[in-house]
Symmetry: C2
Amino acid sequence: MAYSEYKMWLQDNGRAPPVVNSKIEERILNHWDNIDGSVERGYSGRSLFFSDGNICYDTARIRDYARLLASIGINRVCCNNVNVTERSARMITEKLLPDVAKLAAVFREFGIRFIIAVDFTSPRLLGGLTTYDPLDETVTDWWKKAADDVYKHIPDLAGFLVKADSEFRDGPAALGRTQADGANSIARALKPHGGKVYWRCFVYNCVQDWRDKKTDRPKAAYDHFFPLDGFFDDNVILQIKHGPSDYQVREPNSPLLGAMKHTNQAIELQVTQEYTGQQIDLYALAVQWEEIFSAPISDTRTMRDLMGREVTAIAAVANTGLDMNWTGHTLAQANLYSFGRLACDPSLTARAVLSEWIYLTFSNNPKLHEPLLEMMLKSRSVYEKYTTPLGLCWMVNINHHYGPSPEGYEFMKWGTYHRANREAIGVDRTEKGTGYTAQYHPYLNKLYSDKETCPEELLLYFHRLPYDYRLKCGKTLLQYMYDSHFEGYDEVEGFIKTWDSLKPFLPEYAYSSVAERLQQQLKNASEWRDVVNTYFYRLTNVADANGRVIYE
Amino acid sequence: MAYSEYKMWLQDNGRAPPVVNSKIEERILNHWDNIDGSVERGYSGRSLFFSDGNICYDTARIRDYARLLASIGINRVCCNNVNVTERSARMITEKLLPDVAKLAAVFREFGIRFIIAVDFTSPRLLGGLTTYDPLDETVTDWWKKAADDVYKHIPDLAGFLVKADSEFRDGPAALGRTQADGANSIARALKPHGGKVYWRCFVYNCVQDWRDKKTDRPKAAYDHFFPLDGFFDDNVILQIKHGPSDYQVREPNSPLLGAMKHTNQAIELQVTQEYTGQQIDLYALAVQWEEIFSAPISDTRTMRDLMGREVTAIAAVANTGLDMNWTGHTLAQANLYSFGRLACDPSLTARAVLSEWIYLTFSNNPKLHEPLLEMMLKSRSVYEKYTTPLGLCWMVNINHHYGPSPEGYEFMKWGTYHRANREAIGVDRTEKGTGYTAQYHPYLNKLYSDKETCPEELLLYFHRLPYDYRLKCGKTLLQYMYDSHFEGYDEVEGFIKTWDSLKPFLPEYAYSSVAERLQQQLKNASEWRDVVNTYFYRLTNVADANGRVIYE
């Protein structure tokens, strides 16, 4: 539909046209925008919605943004961070609701329903109650009143998003209540208005003792939520991260997805590139998402088969901000585009959506289109090569998560350990180890538990292996690590050459801004290559078989 | 002098009595207080002087504080952080000067002269000039005018403190000028008023490439400043950190101290326990300071012999804040006390000043006095044992600097590497290595360069050694590491027992608040013991000779 047609449709119908006929009912974008104007894990400038403690935006730009989101099929948006601050918690109070409603109205024009992230302790924090116990009547009454107030201002609000019992945020567990108690208490307040609770499942022990080898963070979501299947109200949606760790470059799918038969589920992805290059390094997420959807969940089904059935919603963390090109890295626009397209239709291939994006954004001139498409399709594996291949994960600098720190998380409380010594690396997550694989369908448990059948790209996610372990290619694990890091760096050099060759076909701004970021990426790749190779060399004292430089 | 006598003296003379006849003319306390009320490396609550961007204090309490400082011989104070923010830089402008002068007046009552930390780029930042080039006449005119303004309000100001070309702060080097050009340009503006420039020498490459084995951070201060001896005006004092690294638990003395024959020098210590337990862990700094003063600087002289001759001033970073007991940890009061006493008379022993402090603070009951004194005297070596013995340094968590992270700084830009591999650890700083030892007097160069004569507690500061290197006690380096960490932890347990036994002789608040911190210290010691031991065990695969638990 052309924009002129679209506008006409809008005039005639008083609402946005349905842009897709998707099997996935809810296609949700979560912003992690703070009301002070900063964006948690944001790499595209300040917040589009907030500034200095206030709701504050350029209406014309938000209209552009809503149209942009609607055009790729997104139909739910949450503007405030799930890590709700006290000020942001007040978005459901009379003081801020008129302003929130105005913002919601801009999105409504384009058929996008608003979600508000709320603080689970609001009855105490805002209501002055002595508790936020979900089974306490004064608490449930408070939520009911709060919902009634909110719906007066935003009658089509999709619901509330909640991060509870997660990373030092209070939740029902702190009061001895279940996650279902917590979610249902709010859901019942929203129910009369047709609203839902989007309840995040990122619940794990974030004060783990590194000495404790039994606790295994990837097991946490399943352990906490699977036993509660059937106890959640029908307007609760559990929002489950696609992987059991935290948006790493390579993880298996979460065993919780699809495991529950009587609970609404949403899969949560991350468009913002927290662990995947931070919109400095090129990383086409569509490639990873296609893999996620294609991965088996049993001997007969893939994740894709869950979509529109057990999993009725897709949420993702936004990568947009006030930067003129929305996403910092111009090619990172493709990630937002891909999210919308794959959320509408998870059967699309990365090749198809990236191809579309290049066509719509630049041109279909094959001299540009083909090389750029190949470069983007390759970008994920290149990033994986020079960072943490084989499912290794977590060798990242602490807190900000850009660049290498092989032991940065090794002795911390976050449950993220590889336990490398001079002989071996990795955690045995089979039933002989932490038992994590037992959370999967027996077919996958068997597949992952056997080193021979475990997909090699996930080998170090599931197994502890000696450095001289032979991979299928005949290389040792150590030599594969070295090779991978050298190759990854070399391939970034290749990206730079490709990009330069495309200069004649690109707008100047796009060319030069991406060229600059590719140089930053090369520097990052060199840092990753040298730090990780040196780390393994110091541990093993085994030199590169091809005599390349590894620093001492 | 009793307080009643003191007050009478004050009335009769209109100024504070000289509390000491010290060889050290200037005994300076540097606060790292930010104007927003936070304190950089502060562990005793918010700032005594600032809040929310303003000068803001309780006059009665500041009077108490000034009296407290005067009573231990401190006669200079700088209240604002050397990392000057734009707002704090404005303390030398007409807008803030009346308030600054009022604060200075409180200290003046007690004979303490004020120092203001200024931003080297002020002529551009505040004056609107296009440059801050110290050789530009508009710039020197600007400083002259600024000094004239300041002295109208604070006629006895001691001078300006400057951190330039240091940790991302601009300075003369950015404009191709020398440190002397920079310091002198401001000194000449202060000269007519009798003021001085306190010019910090913490200049080093803070964006070092870890691959670069030639650059060695400990060499930096000497390399930057020694060649300029004789080029500094006579009202410039170079403020030199006692050690070449950064207030580590064990460092050699800086070779710059005493090396310059024609330049005024101040030694800079740190009372606030940035790397020494953060006022959670017990650490009597007097012990370390006594060692610093006792250490040789040649075959015939010690650091103590420099004091009052080449080194005419002592500065230290304060450990005080709004906490009711001033220093967070009640026993950390002893560190402020010790600093004042040792600054007045560097020949005092740690035993003498700590004994005084216990007597003045609690009692001279030998049942309290003796055990507490022994515990405090031991506290530095205990902390050293469970953290980084043998001069190892820098195995600390990044940024906040509390707790262990063996490779936290290993691949960073700060120039702080131990380069441990499976066979050896440490940096060779002799002339066969980075050449750092050549900055010392030939006697010390020889002493430190030979593994056999190098003081063992500094062995890993100067040498790279294999884990099976035999120490004089007959233990391998590795076994010494293990033993040291086990012992350090056990000795903290001993502290707890001692402290409990002292309960009958202590005020309840002092007893319980310190008892609580000792429990925190025990936890910290356990973390250090286990992380460092595990780190070495993973690298070496050599178990503890005594079969104690080392985690895998």
